[in-house]
Symmetry: C2
Subunit: 411 residues, 2 copies
């Protein structure tokens, strides 16, 4: 029997994937598991957009154009106007989820052996997509002490080398929830321009910026207009992870031409998903406002509860629906497994993502976890009850050695 490829064996998985079989087992045995491990919201998908799919009346479910339906791309132009971004339909390529947009971006801009700088911790699946393209990720470490703010110019420039072709950021950030303001992005633009790099920006959490902060899209950075490539997705915005509709957006015509080759190769993005997606553009703005308010309530809940847990280091995230937190534990992988297998409180437990997989630098994140606040506040309170109790009972609890105490992070 022939053996599988090395890249097939070695493609890295998301940090929580290893725990899924354990979670399935304990759930089958009757334990309630609060899933704070994955960005799958419980928020209702806009009913009007789902209704548009139910109202379809086609005879033939045909291929769409490789770059997506023209009508959808043209309407999307107006969506971005709300963020003061001025696009033409041709600047927007519809993809099968944000995931495919990441692949097209990597393959279009980077050859095997090329390097991309990413502040860590970062969305773990970037590792896998880089691995497919034999692209090297050069991490620069952001820190919980600053609420995982964007590293400074010196940090970026310390890792820029002859093979460096891009910087990749996520704003607002997954897994940290950090919001990058306009000034930080303008500083980044100067680095990008000076070193002639691409700036890759995953903006899928654009709609979820709290505390009155205005989202600033890197597509507005006129000084590096042709360097910027933005990843987008409906999954989080409209609680529509199953639609598998995203986008790659850029003013750079050469990148569009290259990405178009990959798009044509896979023929077209999903047909029903595009019908759904086009209909989301007619959803009342109140929907997104309400969803943001709901996530904000959850954010406050998680923050308040974490602050009350002795030895936990946390901060109030400015965007998205994640919080990256340091626990007084020996090892987050062990802790997350123990939570599922050996712990319960009121018949329930909580599933989290261990931190290590979000770092490229070995050893980092060993006592950190990502919390996705994707459940309603009632469930979230119950999940926090579990977590609070678990941190007391966990046999691998250690005293916090970094000298940062709770409530000490004034961000």
């Amino acid at each position: 029997m022939p053996s599988v490829s090395k890249r097939g064996e070695q493609t890295p998985l998301s940090p929580f994937r290893k725990l899924i079989p354990i979670a399935d087992r304990v759930k089958a045995a009757g334990k309630k598991v609060y899933h704070l491990n994955i960005g799958q919201p419980d928020i209702e998908t806009p009913a009007a957009a789902l209704a548009a799919v139910r109202a379809t009346n086609m005879k033939v479910l045909a291929y769409s154009p490789a770059e997506g339906n023209a009508s959808y791309r043209e309407k999307l132009v107006h969506y971005y106007h709300r963020f003061h971004v001025d696009l033409k339909a041709e600047n927007i390529m519809i993809t099968t989820g944000g995931s495919e947009a990441i692949q097209f971006m990597f393959l279009s801009c980077l050859d095997a052996g090329d390097e991309v700088i990413i502040p860590e911790p970062f969305y773990a699946n970037y590792n896998g997509f880089a691995h497919i393209g034999d692209i090297r990720i050069k991490p620069i470490t952001s820190s919980i002490e600053t609420g995982f703010a964007l590293p400074d110019k010196e940090a970026f420039e310390s890792v820029i080398g002859p093979k460096t072709k891009a910087i990749f950021i996520t704003n607002p950030n997954n897994p940290t929830g950090c919001f990058y303001p306009q000034e930080a992005l303008e500083e980044l633009a100067a680095i990008v321009k000076k070193h002639n790099l691409f700036l890759f920006v995953d903006e899928v959490y654009r709609e979820f910026c709290y505390d009155g902060q205005d989202f600033f899209s890197t597509l507005r950075l006129d000084s590096i207009r042709d360097n910027v490539i933005v990843i987008d997705s409906l999954s989080k915005r409209y609680s529509a992870c199953g639609a598998r509709i995203g986008a790659l957006i850029t003013y750079n015509q050469e990148v569009l031409a290259a990405a178009s080759r990959f798009a044509k190769l896979r023929l077209s993005p999903p047909g029903f998903g595009q019908i759904f997606a086009e209909a989301t553009l007619d959803v009342e703005e109140a929907y997104l406002r309400d969803v943001k308010q709901e996530y904000d309530r959850r954010r406050q809940t998680v923050y308040r509860r974490l602050q009350a847990m002795p030895g936990v280091v946390s901060y109030k995230p400015g965007g998205a629906f994640y919080c990256f937190t340091q626990f007084p534990i020996d090892d987050a992988d062990n802790f997350c497994r123990w939570l599922l297998e050996d712990f319960e409180y009121n018949g329930a437990t909580v599933m989290l993502s261990p931190g290590r997989g979000f770092y490229a630098t070995p050893g980092l994140g060993h006592d950190e976890v990502r919390i996705a606040y994707v459940l309603n506040t009632t469930d979230l309170e119950a999940a926090m009850d579990c977590l609070e109790r678990a941190l007391i009972e966990y046999p691998g609890r250690v005293e916090n050695t970094v000298g940062v105490q709770n409530n000490a992070l004034a961000l």
Copy 2:
């Protein structure tokens, strides 16, 4: 401005893609274009399966499992029983179209620099997927004189080298329409076993085998059970190209594990598409029987018309809905462009795929085209009227030099 990647610039496109802007232009100017260039059928999608999507009543359009919905995978097991293939749900991974299944298969089994043998002419997008993975295609040439039958053992063994890891066939074939019978596949199995190779088989045209021939799936080749990986798709079977639902099927647990890593990376296949797909399994068998009869009528039409065109070399294809044909022309790329730009008959013309792009060996296919008989017989007759006239008028017409005359191919 940073430059795009070499692989972005060099990813090969389908042979007809270059002609699409020309076709769009002449259509906008009022010329009717009969599209025989692409496998986009005009057959109606099963109404009952479309109705299943209209009947959805979900609150949250969530991620499905990365490998596809369990209920769908379990029901698919029964579909393959009809072809005497005995699978478990775990052997079937649901993918975003057959295209994604090809990518997962390539990446899971082949590393950069590995070789895969493919009889040419072959489905041109295999080139692009191989290019992404830096995989080398070693072509062996099949010939119109045999109706593009599978090359013999010696032909395969002449190109097997230390880097060869797989043989890849399409049965029934796109672009040739050739049907590979059980005996030919068993001979292939012996080669595969002897040299410890993977056997990749694209079976997406399985339902369309004519002249009473029974389709034999390579999943029934027990002697190489763990070597076989099958690509499947709903696109052609149910005229549902826009659903973007396919499958990767294998008994090989290691391949499934590797492919699962790539599947998890892109999170899940399309949600609505899977609902549609599951409903196709309840569509009455009469649907597929009727569709096959319709394609058979079209096949007879195209064959009859081609046989009557002086200098054209053709054969009666045994499966799928393609015919690969030799014309008395200087250059098929020129001819196909001329058909769109410079020719019309009764206000119409026909769009075909030039043959060169289906070969990996330079120079081959220069006077061949692929005809996709995806239109109803009325349109097909009109398209053949255009073609017949065009072959007379075309300034680059040459006399047939290979010594094979029409009707000389007794297959």
